[in-house]
């Protein structure tokens, strides 16, 4: 997808979400859904960037999100760092951990990277609950309570101030989305795709797999950690429940619905998935079953997600144009002596 189409889809989607508080600002339920759509759309976008574009099957996205949340919570609660500073420090800490996790992954292929990164997520919960976690201020099984809200320009941004918090999240979402588009359309993005398609050929053309794979780990971990941090100052409490399989699964569903490697399809996937997830809450235990069924249907009918539909139309137009070009070329060849 070209940059213009990406920006158009993002502008329409986030623009639409951006005006909804004018009508739904009084409803805390809808405002919470809108806010979570923004947060998850960025976290899922980062996962799509590393998995769908760079071809690295990292399953550590939820872990990076939680590390960002814990880092900012510990910094602000235990060390009294002001939240607007601590969220960026949390992003940096997560990026450093992302690079450390990425290093052994450079030597591994697809499914083994998934195993290593998922094992990292599994190991994170006992670490945070155990004595080591407590020593750094994780609060153990109890977690961290009374995480202060973000306070800037004399205003609090938290779950008690839903509309301001939504717009703060929207601003950061737009900045991070712009960063993702710039990366995808720069030579970094081309290098990611080349390494995904043929690492050997890319290396033989001068692309450093070491540099670009670590770069994608660093960038996606930073943004994911930043949004994890943003979230914790919104809800005010934190525990290892965030590391649940449900969070992981729902995030994965967003990417499948949007289309893997079809950015910004994942943003549309986040809108659909978060909305459905909330609307289906009254279904209780059947909620995830229905979501799973939805994934099966989408994988079978739209393997490239909702973006596949848009792409199908554009490919159809391109094929028609190309056929006409070839026809014209053949006619020119036939008529030439």
């Amino acid at each position: 997808m070209n940059a213009k189409s990406m920006v158009t889809i993002l502008a329409v989607t986030y623009g639409f979400l951006g005006i909804l508080p004018l009508f739904l600002g009084d409803s805390s339920i809808y405002m919470r859904i809108l806010t979570m759509i923004l947060i998850w759309s960025v976290v899922a976008s980062c996962w799509d960037l590393i998995m769908g574009y760079a071809g690295i099957f990292s399953f550590g996205q939820v872990a990076f999100y939680v590390i960002g949340a814990y880092s900012s919570a510990i910094l602000s609660v235990s060390l009294n760092v002001t939240p607007i500073v601590s969220i960026f420090m949390a992003g940096t800490i997560t990026a450093i951990i992302g690079v450390i996790i990425g290093l052994p992954c450079l030597k591994l292929a697809g499914p083994y990277i998934a195993l290593v990164t998922f094992a990292f997520q599994l190991a994170l919960e006992p670490f945070l609950k155990g004595p080591l976690g407590k020593a750094i201020g994780s609060g153990g099984s109890r977690g961290i309570i009374s995480v202060p809200p973000i306070h800037i320009f004399g205003m609090d941004f938290s779950s008690s101030e839903l509309v301001p918090y939504f717009y703060l999240t929207l601003v950061l979402t737009l900045i991070c989305s712009a960063v993702i588009v710039v990366i995808l359309k720069s030579h970094w993005g081309t290098a990611f795709l080349a390494l995904k398609d043929s690492e050997d050929f890319a290396a033989s053309l001068g692309v450093s797999a070491f540099k670009y794979k670590l770069l994608v780990f660093a960038v996606t971990s930073f943004i994911t950690g930043l949004f994890g941090a943003l979230y914790v100052h919104y809800v005010g409490i934190l525990s290892t429940r965030m590391l649940s399989m449900e969070v992981f699964t729902v995030l994965l569903i967003m990417i499948v619905v949007g289309g893997i490697g079809q950015y910004p399809g994942v943003v549309l996937g986040a809108v659909v998935t978060v909305t459905m997830n909330e609307l289906l809450r009254p279904m209780g235990i059947y909620r995830l079953l229905i979501m799973g069924g939805m994934v099966v249907v989408i994988v079978l009918l739209l393997p490239d997600g909702v973006t596949g539909l848009i792409r199908k139309f554009s490919v159809f137009r391109m094929t028609k144009k190309r056929t006409e070009q070839l026809k014209h070329r053949n006619e020119t060849h036939e008529s030439s002596p």
Binding site: H187, T190, A191, L193, A194, K196, D197, S198, D200, F201, A202, A203, S204, L205, G206, V207, S208, A209, F210, G261, R322, R329
Partner: protein, 237 residues
Amino acid sequence: MLKAINITKKFGALAAVDDLSFEVEEGQVFGIAGPNGAGKSTLYNLITGFYKYEGKIEFDGQNITGLPTHKIARLGISRTFQIPQIFESLTVEESVNLGGRFGSSGKYDSGYCDEMISFASLEQERSDKTDLLNLLGKKRLMIAAAMATKPKILMVDEPMAGLNALEIKQMTNLIKKINQDLNITVIIIEHFMKVLTELANPILVIENGSEICTGTPEEITSNPEVIACYLGDTHDA
């Protein structure tokens, strides 16, 4: 220009390349032949830094042993692959530009990349996704992307494999043009002896990772050991 000194690569007990030494001089089309499994492609992988090995390889007087592949590419050694490697997510133009941007030691030169697209006769397909190309197109693309790195040596691995007679002629002409018109040293692995003897001089023949002989096409095709282990009695070179 390129000097391999006693290089050895073992996979467990098997020596895929065994104490091999040879030298490629500037401006040559240096041929490499040998039966399947002789170690030809492994040799390419050693030169281009895909595998670690014993021994030493020098390029332009510089020891390149142990350098990673992308750094060797930037020094001026570029290659294609026996099984066509393409970037399915990219267009022809993006693939060639990738070589120009990352593999060239100088500043990125989009004009030169455009020239390489035309040089490899891919002008019509420049905006196409690479998986739409036929086999010849994919081989041309690998060459164009490799050429975009402005190499001093281009290493092509079985460029004629799977091509028909007309396509072989076109590919042969392309390799001749690279060597003669662009003055680039070429190393070529090829099973099709008629093409290899037309293009290359000298030719190195290897078997089980070791050199059988190196010589002119005439010397190679009349060497009894080469005939016995590789060409057979009825070869048509």
